[in-house]
Symmetry: C2
Subunit: 197 residues, 2 copies
């Protein structure tokens, strides 16, 4: 009866915390309601349904991740910026595994909600501006951005899925991978003649 002061954001946050604790697919409406000391049905005043909630968690994660990356790359350039960028991204995924997996679901997010979310857009901008130091021209710049993001995202995903057998510490491969990426960006290969792309 006492009003709990719910808002869409508070529900989302509770869901996000839960996701980090027990895994995204154990985030149920009931569990979130319990955590907030509220009945399940009450949540539906703030969030359309479970799918919507997941989408909101994903957007929250994107925002938070972007902020961390922005902090980590501020005032840096070249290799420093690259390393800061990648490490911030990876650390976010480690700190918030549940939120991060929410990011990976094929987009079915409410377009209206997506429009007012800065995170994803700003993340892309950050990547572009970080890579400007490497003096790439379009379309190479876009390709490089996508390669960079793919590598980081993929590494995190494989790491989480247990894809790296115990032999060599993932950490070491990560560092060397960034090294390699850095030199690749410094010597981005020219088009082979005959390649249409």
């Amino acid at each position: 009866m006492a009003r709990a002061g719910l808002t869409a954001d508070r529900v989302t946050l509770a869901g996000a915390e839960l996701a980090d604790e027990v895994g995204l697919d154990h985030v149920t409406m009931s569990a979130v309601a319990r955590r907030l000391g509220v009945k399940d049905a009450s949540l539906y005043a703030h969030v359309r349904n479970l799918e919507d909630l997941r989408g909101r968690i994903a957007l929250l994660a994107a925002d938070e991740k972007t902020i961390r990356i922005a902090e980590a790359t501020a005032g840096r350039a070249g290799r420093d910026a690259l390393v800061g960028f990648a490490n911030a991204w990876r650390k976010y995924a480690h700190d918030h595994p549940g939120r991060y997996t929410a990011t990976q679901t094929p987009i079915q997010i409410d377009p209206e909600l997506l429009a007012q979310a800065l995170g994803p857009r700003r993340a892309v901008e950050l990547t572009y501006s970080m890579l400007r130091a490497y003096a790439l021209d379009e379309p190479d710049l876009t390709d490089a951005v996508r390669l960079l993001r793919s590598m980081i995202h993929g590494f995190i995903g494989l790491e989480a899925a247990g894809g790296f057998a115990h032999a060599r510490p993932a950490e070491d491969s990560w560092i060397r991978g960034l090294d390699a990426l850095h030199t690749l960006l410094e010597h981005w290969p020219a088009h082979h003649e005959g390649d249409p792309a």
Copy 2:
């Protein structure tokens, strides 16, 4: 009453097909049972529970993917092998999105089941042997393998999540990314002195 001839493999296959059609997280015991013309409870004779079923789908996917990659790289070397390898991987993910996403779940697969599955192990071996043409020594070889896998896996993931805005076709970035990867592998950077890794 008529015996349906269920086996763990047939249940897994039905689950996999369903996953590709409606998405992995709409794969329910009930839905699989319906598809097989059987009651839900009957499935539990062949599969421990839903989580187990998902694990089996993941292993099936790993096996299938490995086979495709093996075919695509057989008798090839260098850039040809690299491109064949990556394209086979990506094509499998496109052809079987549901199965592929099953692959990404943090490992909680029955160890006993995992032990007798060749797919994952063989996939790693294939990657190593494919990269031998590039004449890398350990630990660089392992780092390169991981970088390669990360890039491919990450690209697929971002693509599926709608991470690439419409501007430039993902396909073009993919091709150029493989180009870049190829030259990177040919000129893998030496250690910076002072780097412990």
